[in-house]
Amino acid sequence: MTATSESSLAKRYGYSEKVMDHFKNPRNIGIIEDADVTSKVGSVACGDLIKLYLKFDPNSDQIKDIKFESYGCAANIATSSMMTEMVKGKTIDDARKVTFKDISETLGGLPRIKLHCAVLSRQGLETAFLKYEAKKGRVKIDESFVNRILRGVLEPVQGVDIISAKILENTKVDGRKISLGLNAKAGSELANSLAEDIGDAFEGLDLDLDLKFKD
């Protein structure tokens, strides 16, 4: 009969033992009640979603604490766990130097079809930084900012961000009002999923979102 020890299981699924370790015992899992900023990227429909909670030192921009929650596969859990370990204690500038490839390599590699999990955890971090900087008034909320946040919103079937998937057709920013034109039929499963995910992506920024779907 099949052996199911950790090492053979890892081999069977194409995961490294380090991935298995982080999957079984995720580091920094949970929430921070008084987080300075949270970010939620990915999608339920896609089966790949994380929420990050961060606390910073207000003077040095150092990440004092970072926690995550996950809805996703073993690679989703392990990459987020590893990412939090790699950036905890770093300043925003230094943490930004950590790439998704670094996360994957530190985990001993990922199966090719699971690399997008490392991309997602890295995007979650970027979204959190952008939101923090916006809250601090250090970045302007303009089209470029909005599009950078939307990199964390996924088209559920292909699992790529809505900009690469060409679902986002246009972005307009007028003060705190953001209008997005989206190539999805109003009331469809896709539109409902996007509305929820986009709302979550900008959560806590006190913006007025206007989503325009197709009739």
Binding site: C73, N76, S193
Partner: protein
């Protein structure tokens, strides 16, 4: 509970509940096969065979009778193949190529096995047309839908029991309609064979696929029922064995083992699995925010359980269970090599979330009450662990 040895040399218990994927060989079948591998290793040849050939020939004909009896067919209507996928391919390709003049349309359901859906797809690229029958929330096709799609149809192929959610179709009602209209009818009965009653006369099917490895028989062997008078164009070319529909040296040991395995599956086994299945469903549904996929009662395959657990993802469930010695299956996209969610859960109207967390547990004739108690307890524990890590579960508990 069977024992297995992990790489550290430790003997552990393994609870295997993935019997819709494959099963453990029945030891009595192994003994029989061994004889045909080591001593009686001939293959049937011409009419004047020497001893070894005659022995092999007789054994195959006896096996043919056993399989035929099990589905209420005559032995001449059964050909042996290499398994369910091959049977399905021979049936559909063979019918399309021999009856193309009767019509261009093949009708099947949205929840068939991939070996059906893909061959039908391929035929649409070669000038044929397809109609996919919708299914309801429990996975049932509506036979009345057939009436409107029979024009220009050469073949209808609807499975007996579904591989993921265990829905048992009313094949006889479909056969009634196709037989009256002179349209060929195929049924993929791979999941239900020797577990549920199959009567090709009552079901009025022309072609029916069965397989060995899901009933504790060897892998790589199956059979196709071809009703007397139904003409199929061979998919493989070679000698005239198996009526020319499956030429080549027959898998004697496999065929003999297949029939033995079928003999060793009894109605009592099915009744016991049915009872245990219902108990398992009840205990899994005590987990909050869980949902049964597929129907309840006699319209559900006797060894199939499929439940979705909200706010958690199937690959993570499966791997945690695997580490605890419990083997199940999932419809999650993350577990599939192509990152595609289960087409069955989607077809019954399940959300993508439902498909990502759909967990299939399939029983065998050896599954015990203790196995299922361990399974239910372990799944509960793992779902709780993963929900404690999930932002979706938190969001909901805050709303409440």
């Amino acid at each position: 509970m069977s024992k297995w040895i992990d790489p550290d040399g430790q003997a552990r218990g393994l609870v295997y509940l993935d019997n819709a994927e494959t099963t453990r060989l029945d030891p009595a079948v192994l003994d029989l096969i061994e004889g045909f591998m080591l001593d009686k290793y001939g293959v049937p040849a011409g009419e004047f065979g020497y001893g070894l050939e005659e022995e092999a020939g007789n054994a195959i004909e006896q096996a043919r009778e056993t399989i035929a009896r099990r589905i209420n067919a005559s032995p001449e209507e059964v050909i042996f193949t290499s398994g369910g996928t091959e049977s399905n391919n021979i049936a559909i390709l063979g019918a399309a190529r021999s009856s193309y003049y009767k019509g261009k349309r093949i009708v099947t359901s949205r929840i068939e096995h991939k070996s059906i859906l893909r061959i039908v797809d391929k035929l649409t690229r070669q000038g044929f047309e397809k109609t996919l029958l919708d299914v309801d929330r429990e996975g049932f096709v509506n036979p009345a839908d057939l009436e409107t799609s029979l024009g220009g149809t050469l073949l209808v192929s609807v499975q007996h029991a579904n591989q993921e959610i265990g829905t048992m179709q009313d094949v006889a009602a479909i056969g009634e309609i196709t037989r009256d209209s002179g349209v060929l009818s195929h049924c993929d009965a791979v999941q239900s064979f020797a577990k549920e009653k199959i009567d090709v006369q009552a079901m009025k099917v022309d072609l029916l696929s069965v397989s060995s490895h899901l009933i504790h028989g060897p892998k790589g062997v199956g059979a196709l029922y071809v009703r007397d008078g139904v003409k199929l164009e061979p998919v493989l070319e070679g000698d005239d064995r198996e009526k020319g529909l499956r030429p080549g040296t027959p898998n004697v040991g496999g065929i003999v083992g297949f029939a033995k395995a079928a003999e060793l599956m009894t109605d009592a086994d099915s009744a016991r699995m049915r009872q245990l299945r219902d108990e398992l469903i009840e205990s899994l549904l005590t987990i909050s925010d869980s949902r049964l996929n597929g129907p309840r009662g006699d319209d559900r395959l006797c060894n199939n359980v499929n439940v979705s657990f909200r706010y958690v993802e199937g690959e993570a469930i499966l791997m945690h269970l695997d580490l605890k010695g419990l083997v199940v299956n999932t419809g999650s996209a993350c577990y599939s090599q192509k990152l595609e969610p289960s087409h069955v859960i989607r077809a019954i109207g399940g959300s993508l979330e439902d498909s990502h967390s759909s967990t299939r547990l399939s029983l065998s004739k050896w599954t015990s009450k203790q196995d299922l108690a361990y399974a239910a307890e372990t799944i509960k524990e793992v779902v709780e662990t993963l929900r404690a890590q999930s932002p979706l579960a938190r969001k909901v508990s805050q709303r409440r």
